[in-house]
Amino acid sequence: MDNMLEMLKELTDANGIPGNEREPRDVMKKHISAYADEVKTDHLGSLIARKQGGKEDDPKIMVAGHLDEIGFMVTNIDDRGFLKFQCVGGWWEQVMLAQRVTVMTKDGSIPGVIGSKPPHILAPEARKKSVDKKEMFIDIGAADKEEAASFGVRPGDSVVPVCDFTVMKNEKYLMAKAWDNRIGCAIAVEVLKRLENESHPNTVYGVGTVQEEVGLRGAKTSAHAIKPDIGFGVDVGIAGDTPGVTEKDALSKMGEGPQIIMYDASMISHKGLRDFVTGTADEKEIPYQFDAVPGGGTDSGSIHLTADGVPALSITIATRYIHTHAAILHRDDFENAVQLIVEVIKKLDRDTVHTLTFD
């Protein structure tokens, strides 16, 4: 496994639901610190790594991935030792039942599974329906409430999906939990790394935000702290290349370049910035795809509303099976997203930022 894959493995294997992003933050900090002049966190926990430009008033470019992954929170332990839970982030019942999870307790992590009834005892009508989340529970193999408590489990504990980072037979295809959005964190790290020896008049911020999956919250506070001139939300997007998905549902295909998001439910991308980015991609012959996500949003949705407004664009990676335990993306899309953002930043300066913002 090469160094890049090692970093991706560390990032995706780290566990961190919204509000408890310590593990992935530590991993991102480890990888980005060598390429930044300063690394700090804001008061909610978002990681902000700054690479200072030559002058104090150089444009500030924010490249933000989010640290949190969707998961669950323990709300109660019943008398038989089963855990009731709250979904934290957007979960769909169809992908939850019988899935392995990790419960993060004060005494360490313990394994569990989201319990389900066998079909043998279900009425015919019940077999046709998905089970309501309210009826689900987590089985940690405890005999009763007292034993569960003795394992260290308490209300408020985080619960995360289980899926080890896996390089598939075609080694361009990478499967993991939490691609949403550790791939964005990896892009932020790589952008700072590859700009290290480049000459450009910008201050670049590689940011790992918290609590994106519950409302783009860390992006709001970290963007307030930075007050960027330009913002890039880097995240996963929808891959429309699986059976049953048509072009009416999703346009993109894995391996055909990063997605340029025209609009989503949180933002209409800034036309000047969008045109600048796609023009750069055309010039440098970097592949890209246009897409839109009417049922989702990214950190750009918060960033672009900061202070007087920030030209922002979401650049995403077409990913299969997001918001499940096991998602798949294509390594080339990651590489091309990094290259595109690097080339864009190399072309930006104060005059260019002013022009694309106001013309």
């Binding site: 934290v88 409302g215 009416k248 609009y263 989702g296």
Partner: protein, 40 residues
């Protein structure tokens, strides 16, 4: 990527491009930032 509470009534993208843009804006104003589901 944040999931919003509900999708627009019709899909908004075709191979020709955007075909129900106003609806997206309307929906976004209603329901962004609904990641925590309080009914569980």
């Amino acid at each position: 990527m944040l999931t919003t509470k509900r999708m627009p009534k019709t899909m908004t993208v075709s191979s020709e491009g955007i075909n129900s843009f106003s609806e997206v804006i309307e929906i976004a104003a209603e329901n962004v930032y609904t990641g925590v589901e309080t009914d569980t």
